[in-house]
């Protein structure tokens, strides 16, 4: 189909979809209205389990089983990206070149790295009482490590980040979530029921299993993002295409079309 034909087809379809969407929006509850039956019940359930952050209560207590699925999607995606971005036959690894970084940026990176790391761990640990939690904090922790790549170079990052512990950490985070669920079954209730002592409302130890599940997710997300970014950075920095097929611009693509 020509580009023009495709665009015309899209515009016609989009007009129909737009009309249907507006018709559906007219039937939605009024924006800003006060009728939120599920929200009110979720807040009451969060209070009952002494979890100050109602969003964390929904994610790690009321919908804890769904979050296991969500965590598994993340785990599978990291695994898939690693398989897709592996070093294929014919590709060579070259040592990363040393990069020149201006001293102010280097100093700023070195100062910010521990701060960012601490903020990430704080966000993971306080998931049950403040906005945040394992998913958000895990990403901050992983990003903090990559300040090394910005402030120094890829060699420095690779020295501080041997990949295998992070791969193990990724799997351990996923496993810790399942193990927590199995322990609640062994304690005599349903899978992932909040059976731990609930603690005092609004303190670091409140929320029962929410704390454990947050930590498990934080560990998995942090390690998973490190592994994921490492696969992409390897492709960009270290892995070299086999000779004769390097980079393949449009001209080469046209030439190589015959054997593709």
């Amino acid at each position: 189909m020509t580009r023009r034909g495709r665009l015309v087809l899209f515009l016609a379809a989009a007009a129909v979809v737009a009309v249907l969407l507006v018709a559906a929006f007219l039937g939605l509850p009024q924006f800003g209205g006060s009728h939120h039956p599920y929200g009110d019940r979720a807040v009451r359930a969060a209070f009952a389990h002494h979890t100050a952050n109602a969003v964390a209560a929904v994610n790690f207590d009321q919908r804890a089983f769904d979050t296991l699925g969500e965590e598994s999607i993340l785990f599978a995606a990291v695994l898939g990206a690693m398989v897709l971005l592996r070093q294929t036959t014919g590709e060579r690894r070259r040592p990363p070149r040393r990069a020149r970084v201006s001293p102010p940026i280097r100093r700023l990176g070195m100062v910010m790295l521990p701060v960012a790391l601490l903020v990430g761990l704080y966000v993971v640990a306080h998931g049950q009482i403040t906005p945040g939690g394992g998913f958000q904090g895990g990403v901050v922790v992983a990003t903090a490590l990559h300040l090394l790549y910005v402030a120094a170079d890829y060699g420095a990052l690779e020295r501080i980040r041997p990949l295998s512990p992070y791969e193990i950490g990724d799997a351990a985070g996923e496993a810790a979530y399942v193990v927590t669920g199995i322990s609640t079954v062994l304690a005599g209730s349903a899978f992932l029921t909040n059976v731990l002592p609930l603690g005092t409302f609004g303190t670091l130890t409140s929320g029962g299993t929410v704390v454990l599940l947050n930590a498990a997710v934080g560990m998995e997300v942090a390690c998973g993002v490190v592994v994921l970014l490492a696969s992409f950075l390897d492709q960009a920095v270290e892995i070299e295409a086999p000779p004769g097929n390097n980079g393949a611009g449009p001209a080469e693509a046209a030439g190589g079309g015959g054997n593709a």
Binding site: R3, R6, L7, F10, A14, V17, A18, L21, V22, F25, L26, L28, Q30, F31, G32, G33, S34, H36, Y38, G39, A42, V43, A46, F47, A52, N53, A54, V55, A57, V58, N59, R63, T67, E70, I73, L74, A76, A77, V78, G80, A81, L84, L85, T88, P131, F135, F201, G202, S231, F232, A241, N245, A248, G249, P250, E252, A253, G256, G257, A260
Partner: protein, 114 residues
Amino acid sequence: MTLLPYLVAGWIFLIGVYGLVTSRNLIHTVGCLSVTQSSTYVLLLAIGYRDGGTAPVYAALPKDARVVDPVVQALTLTDIVVGATVTALLLALVTQLHKRHGTVDPDELLALKG
């Protein structure tokens, strides 16, 4: 009754699909898919909004405070995580496509197949 927040979500969805249809670069296509998906964040949060409501985090709030719906916020978090993983996987696929076929233009890829 204001429809504007819902209409914004619908508009983001359609503009994302427009980008998908007209894209000439698969990296751009993946970006457009993220835009399309972000319309669901806007829609979910718009449904959960309550006039004058604050974040449903009670650490520093009285227990009868007026808050927005925490259920849709939790769903949005799930949505974002899944979106990020899908983006990562698709970008990995695009990287490999570029290595094998030397192009990231979807139209040229069709030509190579035939």
